[in-house]
């Protein structure tokens, strides 16, 4: 299970709101080739790993993303 941390990994301070850029970023985050989809792929790939190193690294990268 995962816990929520009430802070960002890196602080975001938006000086000039830019809707076009925001759209790109939200796509990178939640779109079909985005972080969210990638993280879920790592988390299902981990079930097929034959060695401890590979299980751990996929579990942890999936978690971190």
């Amino acid at each position: 299970m995962w816990i929520y941390e009430k802070k960002l990994e890196y602080p975001v301070r938006i000086k000039n709101p830019n809707p076009k850029m925001a759209k790109y970023i939200i796509t990178q985050y939640g779109g079909p080739d985005g972080e969210l989809a990638a993280s879920l792929r790592y988390l299902s790939q981990r079930y097929h790993m034959p060695i401890p190193e590979a299980k751990a690294v996929l579990n942890d990268i999936g978690t971190e993303e």
Partner: protein, 90 residues
């Protein structure tokens, strides 16, 4: 409800926490594939100790950083205090 999460000392503490946590994430991923590197592991443990101390310090003053039993709260329940990370970039 106090909104102390945004004061300068709190922000500075959080920046320190973030910097150290970045080291622990990166060392952790490295150690996953290099589990016999004891030098890296000692470094990891050293950052863990620092991180725990800093988080304790932050949470006592500014409220819990994590939910579901990972940090204590004073009364009233401080988890619901604003701002959330998506509200002010915290």
């Amino acid at each position: 409800m106090n909104h102390t999460r945004t004061d300068n000392a709190g922000k500075e503490l959080l920046d320190q926490i973030r910097a150290i946590e970045f080291m622990t994430v990166d060392l952790n991923l490295y150690l996953d594939t290099h589990p016999n590197d004891c030098r890296a592991m000692n470094e990891y443990n050293c950052y863990v100790r620092q991180l725990q101390a800093l988080k304790r310090e932050y949470e006592m003053q500014y409220g819990p950083l994590a939910n579901f039993g990972n940090a204590m709260s004073t009364c009233p329940w401080r988890w619901i205090e604003e701002p959330w990370p998506w509200e002010e970039g915290i």
